[in-house]
Structures are given as structure tokens and as C-alpha cells.
């Protein structure tokens, strides 16, 4: 395998990881601040993609589609927080898991009821379509490159938001000591709604961005949701830095594992079997990674609290 | 010394730059109550954690009946004869008082992996449990849910569970806290009789109780033992008066 191909594959892993980060960041924030396990986060991803597809279909503008995705997911997130999630903060994880599982059912079938059972169309905008040639002669899709850039910018923005702004201070305080922020005179209810909507918006953005190169359909959120959980658990629940590191780890493991494991297997067995066994191992790779991390560090790489 | 039951030798523990235990050596002998006192933040809790095994010391060792238990986990120390009561009650709040005490009996009897005989029909366990309850005066509330007990009653329950272990040594973390004057007095009387069964390492803020019970007192300030001796010696130690007792006496 040539070096150029390897570099291209690393870029692919990076792009996948960065998109996972958008999902995982919201998930980990919500867990960190409110102590909530939100299985319905994948539904917000789906809502983002559907909003984008609907608006892009109506207006033809990708920028408007992204705005719609952000707004749609944020509004859905805020609504759900106020109507349902709010009542779950005090409850144990078990109730949260069940209630948010119920939300998945409602969102998925609701979306199917509104948009039908067939996938929706959402495409890469013309300005970003097609490949570009990178230094060294690598041809790489421009859109994916853009995704990496957008993801890294959002990550940077999140770090700035949390380290520099007033709401960031409140979020950090909330992660450390819930009673403290009440003592600081912060309206906790409002803070929680904002954090939830922020997480939802990030998920919606990810859904719209990824939807352009994938299939916009009901149920698209759950596989990503599970991966995002793997990410935040590897990184340590509640840690944005952990989410970023975990997302890149998972992205790279997933992409590179899929390429190298079959090759490695070919050293031991005949090609046809190796391809199949290697592919099976590759599909289990990230879960093996996660189990290994947890066995060595039971609270993840950057996690403090249990 | 043959009659030493529990001993720490040169315990050191740092949390980053903060030294919470500095070379702590102390002994607990047969038949005595050895009180450890000191201001808040002096490192009393960390000391107890190390003795009971929830925190590992950086240096130094802990001996229980001449056996080095420094590397042993909590449950092994308990099995070896160390009974502990907690500062903040650690009880199964949803269970009844009796069940909590029986839990101690189960641990002591090694019956934890019996899967079939209902625990509340095991006569041996029940007898031990009832005796323990009677001794601390909780017999009347045996069937009550633990969550419904008063703060003082939970203290008593902690002691009752410790009794079921028939330990070689007690480590008690503020057993008087929240008891009130009357309860405190009764607990003091009870602990006074208990020392004959097994010696008590007592961490306590209630100075009346300490002076009434302790055979020896060690004073812990900023992670170090600054003085150790009989009640009289400590009362008259100028260093102690200055560092600690001064404000309270």
C-alpha cells in the first residue's frame, strides 16, 4: 500500500472522526452538565438531516439548509428538554435510558409519518463537489475536506465558548457542582435548556453535513448514536477534550481497521476467507477498542467522575 | 509489645503537593481506647481510610495482630478482625434495621454465597443479630426501615453491625456525631464496656467523650501527630493547647 493511499485513508478517518465529534460533543456536554444519558441524540441528528433535505429541496440553497438543520434540531431539542427531559434529571440512569429510548420511537415513526418511508434527497452543493488535488498528488473530495475544516472549527469554537464566555463558565460550574451554580444565581432551568439545545444543534449540523454524502432516511441516527457513545465513553464522559480525542481514535480505528485487518489476515489464511474474517474483525474493532480502554481506565481516557 | 492489636508504622500520603499524612505511627493495645483528635482538615479521615484499606499509603505499613495488611483490600482487613463505623452512615437504607445487622453476620460467617436458605430463617445469624441490636438498644426498631431511623439511631446501628463481626479491633469515626447530650452519654457508657471485648481506635470531636473514654490520645495536626500520651499528658501539653485545644478549652 502506497504512502499516498495511507495518507488519504488517514484523512478519511479524520473526517469520520470529526463528524463523530459533533455528535459526541453534545452528548458529553449533556451528560457532564445534567448527568443525563440521552439515547435520543441520534434522533436530533436525523431531524437535522431531514430539515436540511426539506429546505434544500424547496429553496435549492445548501446554506439555508444548514441553517434550517441547526435551527430545527435546536428547536426540537429545546422542546424535548422542556417537555420531557427536564423531568428526568433527578432520576437514575435506568429511567433516562428508557425514556429517551421511547423518544427514539416517537421521533423515528413521527418522521416516517411526515416524510414517508423513502429516503430523501440531499446533495453536496456544486461549489464543493468533486475532488481537489492536494500537495503530493492526492485527489481528495473537496466536500470531505470542508467537513474536516468545519468540524475542527466547531471544536475550536466549543473550546472557546467553554473557556472564555459567561455561559461557558456556567457550564463548567455545572459540571463540577450543581448546587454551586444555583448559589451563583444562575437560572439552572434556562442553562439546561440552552445546553441541551446547543447539543441538539451540533447533532443536527452533523446530520445535515453528513446527510449530503449519505442517505437521509429514518433510522439514520441510531448507528451514529452508538458510535458517539463509544466515543464519549472512550474519552471519558463529560470531557469535551476526551470527546475530540475519542472521536478521532474511533474514526481512525474504524477506517484503518477496515483496510488493514483483511490485509493482516491474508498473512495467515487464504484471501477469500481472510477478506471475510478481516471484515468481521473490523466491524468489531471499535468495540474492542472501547472495551480495552475501559478495562485499563474504567472512567475513560479523560474522565474524572464515575 | 505483645499486646499491640493494631499498629501503623510511618504512614505517608500525599495528594499532589498536599501532605495529608506525615510519618504517622501509632498503636492500639488490647483493652484500651485510643483517641485520635485534631482540627478539621488535619488528616483524620485519610488516616482512617488508610487503616481500613480504602486508601493506600504512599509509604509505611499497617499491622493487624502482627500481620502486615498494608496491601490487603478492605474486605480482607474486615475478615482479619477490623470493624469500622462510618462518619457518614453507610447503611442499606431501603432494608430494615435487622437486615442491616444480619448483613454483618453474613459477612462474618462467610455465608455470603449461600443462595437458597432464606437469610431470615437462619437461627445462628438471627441470634447474633438480635444480641447486637439489644446491646446497642435498637431491639425495638428492628423491623423499621433504616431510612426511617433518626440520625442517632443510625449511629447505634453502625456500632451494632460492627459488633456482629466479633472483631479484634474497632475503628470508629465520630460515633457521637448527632447523638445529642443524652445519647452521647449512653454511647460513651456503652463504648466504655466494649473496650474489654476489643480495643477501640476512636476519632471523635466530642471532647467530653474523648476525655471520659480515652486511655491514650494522639493529636493530629496538618498530617502529623504532634503529641501522644495519656489524657493528663495531653491536657497539660503546651504544644497541644496552643495548636488545638486552645480554641476549644
Amino acid at each position: 500500500m502506497s504512502l499516498l493511499l495511507l495518507i488519504e485513508q488517514v484523512l478519511n478517518g479524520l473526517q469520520f472522526g470529526v463528524m463523530l465529534f459533533l455528535m459526541a460533543a453534545g452528548l458529553t456536554l449533556i451528560f457532564g452538565v445534567m448527568g443525563l444519558i440521552n439515547l435520543a441524540h441520534g434522533s436530533l441528528y436525523m431531524i437535522g438531516a431531514f430539515c436540511a433535505a426539506a429546505v434544500a429541496g424547496a429553496t435549492g440553497s445548501f446554506v439555508l439548509a444548514l441553517v434550517a438543520a441547526l435551527a430545527g434540531a435546536a428547536i426540537a431539542g429545546a422542546l424535548v428538554e422542556i417537555l420531557v427531559i427536564r423531568r428526568l434529571y433527578g432520576k437514575d440512569h435506568l429511567d433516562q435510558v428508557l425514556a429517551t429510548f421511547a423518544l427514539i420511537l416517537i421521533f423515528s415513526e413521527g418522521t416516517r409519518w411526515l416524510f414517508g418511508s423513502f429516503p430523501l434527497f440531499l446533495d453536496v452543493p456544486d461549489a464543493l463537489s468533486g475532488p481537489v488535488t492536494l500537495p503530493g498528488g492526492i485527489e481528495y473530495p473537496f466536500y470531505r475536506l470542508t467537513l474536516i475544516a468545519v468540524g475542527l472549527m466547531v471544536a475550536l469554537g466549543l473550546f472557546l465558548l467553554i473557556s472564555r464566555t459567561r455561559i461557558g463558565i456556567q457550564i463548567r460550574a455545572g459540571e463540577n457542582d450543581r448546587e454551586m451554580i444555583a448559589a451563583l444565581g444562575v437560572d439552572i432551568g434556562r442553562l439546561y435548556t440552552i445546553v441541551f439545545a446547543l447539543g441538539a444543534a451540533l447533532a443536527g449540523l452533523a446530520g445535515a453535513l453528513v446527510g449530503a454524502i449519505q442517505s437521509v432516511q429514518v433510522g439514520m441516527g441510531e448507528p451514529v448514536l452508538i458510535l458517539a457513545f463509544v466515543v464519549i465513553v472512550i474519552g471519558g464522559i463529560g470531557s469535551i477534550k476526551g470527546a475530540l480525542v475519542g472521536a478521532l481514535l474511533v474514526g481512525l480505528t474504524n477506517t484503518l481497521g477496515g483496510i488493514f485487518l483483511p490485509e493482516v489476515m491474508k498473512l495467515f489464511m487464504e484471501p477469500a476467507v481472510a477478506t471475510s474474517v478481516g471484515a468481521s474483525l473490523a466491524s468489531m474493532a471499535i468495540y474492542i477498542l472501547m472495551a480495552a480502554v475501559l478495562i485499563l481506565k474504567p472512567t475513560g481516557l479523560f474522565g474524572a467522575r464515575v | 509489645m505483645d499486646d499491640v492489636v493494631l499498629e501503623t508504622r510511618g504512614l505517608c500520603k500525599n495528594y499532589g503537593a498536599l501532605e495529608v499524612s506525615k510519618n504517622i505511627s501509632l498503636t492500639l493495645r488490647k483493652g484500651e481506647v485510643h483517641a485520635v483528635i485534631g482540627p478539621n482538615g488535619a488528616g483524620k479521615s485519610t488516616l482512617i481510610h488508610q487503616i481500613c484499606g480504602t486508601v493506600r499509603p504512599d509509604f509505611g505499613s499497617i499491622y493487624l495482630l502482627d500481620e502486615d495488611v498494608t496491601q490487603k483490600p478492605v474486605d480482607a482487613r474486615s475478615k482479619a478482625g477490623l470493624a469500622r463505623t462510618f462518619q457518614v452512615s453507610a447503611l442499606a437504607m431501603e432494608d430494615t434495621v435487622l437486615e442491616n445487622v444480619v448483613l454483618g453476620c453474613v459477612g462474618a460467617s462467610g455465608k455470603a454465597f449461600r443462595l437458597f436458605q432464606p437469610v431470615l430463617t437462619d437461627r445462628d445469624l438471627l441470634e447474633t443479630a438480635h444480641i447486637a441490636l439489644e446491646r446497642v438498644g435498637l431491639e425495638d426498631v428492628a423491623e423499621k426501615r433504616t431510612a426511617d431511623l433518626s440520625h442517632g439511631q443510625r449511629r447505634q446501628l453502625e456500632v451494632a453491625i460492627a459488633l456482629t463481626l466479633a472483631p479484634k479491633a474497632f475503628v470508629m469515626d465520630e460515633p457521637m456525631a448527632g447523638l445529642g447530650a443524652e445519647g452521647s452519654k449512653r454511647m460513651t457508657g456503652f463504648l466504655d464496656t466494649l473496650r474489654a471485648e476489643a480495643p477501640i481506635l476512636l476519632v471523635e470531636h466530642d471532647m467530653d467523650a474523648v476525655f471520659a473514654l480515652a486511655d491514650r490520645i494522639s493529636v493530629l495536626v496538618y498530617g502529623s501527630i504532634i503529641a501522644s500520651g495519656t489524657v493528663e499528658e495531653i491536657r497539660s501539653d503546651p504544644g497541644v493547647r496552643e495548636a488545638y485545644l486552645g480554641d476549644e478549652a
Binding site: R112, F121, Q214 | -
Partner: protein, 378 residues
Amino acid sequence: MKFFSLAASAALALGVVSANAEPLKVGMITTLSGGGAGLGIDVRDGFMLAVKQAGNENIEVIIEDDQRKPDIAVQLADKLVQSEKVDVLTGIIWSNLAMAVVPAVTAQGKFYLSPNAGPSALAGKGCHPNYFNVAWQNDNLHEAAGAYAKETGYKKSFILAPNYPAGKDALTGYKRFYDGELAGEIYTKLGQTDYAAELAQIRASDADSVFFFLPGGMGISFLKQYADSGVDLPVVGPAFSFDQGILQAVGDAALGVKNTSQWNKDIDNETNKAFVESFQAEYGRLPSLYASQGFDTANLLLSAMGSADVNDADAFRAALLAADFSSTRGDFEFGPNHHPVQDIFVREVIKEGDVYTNKIIATAMTDRADAYAAECKM
């Protein structure tokens, strides 16, 4: 108690019970909710359109949703057989669900007509006199793709499919008729939606063509990313990723792609024309491959009903085997293992006005049966 009996009798029933004759009861188990519901809905709509057009009062169809879960499908089959006492079952979309349901159902003496799934086990050693496949054996469309690749003169194909039995069958089927070299052979994760890594491998290889089998959302994702990757090799695939329901979501990315199918809306015969027209009129959308299969399945059944009584199993079986109905595909007959012997076409994706659809450009295989018929003993 009341609850149970209520539940058992509250199934959706269509058709009118005729006064003198006991109507033939058909149980349809198909996927109507959750992922993949689009396919089940098409099969159901195609089937019911034929039933409606026939105006036959002696047929009663009970439709159940399997949610694409094998255990639910088995449970529904039990219900239809035990409580509803149906004579014929049909409707299942997915091979794994078919494998869960069909052997047990046929063992109980019921007829099963498959409108879609055709796993190799049921075509070969596990064939059964009461099992008829009206669509295709699973390998067929892949074989046709391989034959087309050979015909076109591709010498180095890069082939990929998900890592599950149908995926392996697909690659095997393609290789059965394709005789060039392989530039690469990849099994992807089932449900995978990002194919960047595979596309990089395709680009890095010296392939002259790409064959893929990625049903549902996987195929949509692959095609969009393929179009965006700058790889410019000809693509061949089975019809599943270029179906009417899916194409609109793929858009321009699919234009020009060759795919193999036993049906298309432009097959020139009266039945097909009427079917396409009436389906559009009834449901307001173009019919899909699956709809045509549902439609044919119903017509096969109706034709058998016309000449035999379902209670006389042997006669009814013979009537089914005769396949005396006019198919949307034109010629239609069954082979000895009760799987179709039919022509398979090559289609190209085109745009008609605003709608993406297919047109037939060639015939890949004529009178193709399947590779497993010889193993079938019945």
C-alpha cells in the same frame, strides 16, 4: 382473556366473503414500519392492486407488519397459520426473514409465494413443492451483472458487498459469469454509510469497472460518495440500488449507471403498460421493481385460483406451476425448483423530466434459471 381473542381477530381484512364458497385466505407478512418499509409497502400495493383489479370476491388478504424482525415474522406466520387458518402466505422482503418463516410454513402444508427474497438454500437443497418464488433467485441479478461485464469486455472489476450472506452470494453470483481479473474484493460492514476508505482503494487500484451490491441506504450513500470522489469508472450493480423508490434520493449521482433487472416500466407488453398506468393512477407514484413483483405474485395466485381449489393441494400446486398468467415481465415460467426462468435486462439510469428512472438498453441473460436447481430434489 378478552384481550387475547380481540387481538387475534383484529387483523386488517380486505375483500368480501362470498356466500357460498369458502374464500381463499392469503396471509401477507411484509415490512411496513421501521427501516426498509418502502419495499414492503411497494409489494403490498402492487399485490393489492392486482387483487382489486381482479374483482375476485373469493380472496381475502390479511396483511401484517413484520418490522423487519425475524422473530416477529415467525410469530405472525404462526398467527396466520394457527388462528387465521390461511391457505397461502406471501410478502416477505428479506432473505433472513424468509429463512425463518418459509421452511416451517411449507412443512405445515401451506403454500408460500415469494414476491422478493430468494435465498439459495430454498432454491437448492431446501426447496419445497409448496414454495414458489415469483421474483428471482438471489444470485440472478448479480449473475446478470457479471454476464454484462463479460459481454462489455471489462477485464478488471473491483467488487464490493456487505459482509453478510446475501453480500457473499452477490459477489459469488457476479464471479460466476464474469471471467476477468479482480482488481479488489471487499466486504463492507452491514449498515455502513461511509465509503471513503473503499473509494480510496478503488481509486488506488487499476480497476476498469466497479460492481457493488449495497441495498437500501448503503447504496445511496455509496453512489453519492462515488460521484463526489472523482473516480470515473463504469459502475454495474443489481437493480436494488437503482430502484424507483431510491433513485430520487440519489439524484444525479446515479445517472448513466448500468444495472440489471428482470423488470422495468418500459418492458413492452400490454400487461406491463396497464400495470404502470394503473399503479400511478392508484397510488400517485411510479411503480418499483418490488411493486411489479407484488403485482405478478397476486396474478399468479389469482390464475391458480381460477383453475384449481386450494384444498386440493396437488391440483393447486400444478396450477401454480403452470404459471398461466400474463406477467409484467412478458414471458414467465417456473423451473423445476419453482423458481423463475426469465430474461434479465440491463437498464440505464436516466432522467425523465424531473424524475429519475431507468430504461432498458440490453438483455443480459435469456431464459436464466438459477445455479441451484440441480441440487433440488422434489
